[in-house]
Symmetry: C2
Subunit: 125 residues, 2 copies
């Protein structure tokens, strides 16, 4: 499992630092068949997902990962499920929002693409 | 996606009502190759997962689902990823704990088994 955890760490480090500095570059992580559920809204395909991510209603955002878990998602392919919980700071807010995000990463050449992506904010009790 | 959402709803209704009333029965949802990450600890196989779930240090527990998302997890098999966020009430506590849980369900005969299961409590900021 150590390999998988290293891949998950490398992916999420890249994903969230790119999200926080240059959201448009995230498009290259998705494919035509990729799915995003964003706060319950389903979005299909790299172009639509990129449109969604680049038009979110904030200028600046900062992700801080609290927990990171990974598991192999198939007995036959080197795909993995990555589950993240963490905190988001948006624009000038000093009030962090909790979020949960799940990815399924599929091997593609020497790298991975995002096949599944599910994002949710977690509001308090 | 409506079919998938119905399956996810039916699974989680069953899973959490069984968890809250008769945890030992959850074993039938897992197989030898099933994986659980429980608060970061990896556990492999139905018997070990059942041991973990039935020896958690509380007598009574109540899950309340806040959000439920599902996506197909493969282009070729009718498997799905289910992502849940919600609240937990343990024993006599009146202070709900937030949790996030991710499942991958694999079709098996007319039903599904849990191949991946990742559980985390979400502590506040």
């Amino acid at each position: 499992m150590s390999d998988i955890n290293a891949i998950a760490k490398q992916f999420t480090d890249f994903y969230y630092s790119t999200f926080d500095t240059n959201r448009a570059s995230l498009q290259s992580l998705y494919r035509e068949q990729s799915m995003l559920s964003w706060e319950g809204s389903p979005i299909l395909g790299a172009a639509n997902i990129s449109d969604k991510l680049t038009t979110l209603p904030f200028q600046t955002v900062q992700h801080k990962i609290t927990t990171l878990d990974a598991q192999p998602s198939s007995p036959t392919v080197a795909s993995l499920i990555v589950s993240v919980t963490g905190l988001l700071l948006v624009d000038d807010s000093t009030n962090p929002l909790q979020f949960s995000q799940v990815f399924q990463l599929i091997p593609d050449g020497g790298s991975y693409y995002v096949y599944n992506d599910i994002f949710r904010l977690n509001y308090g009790a």
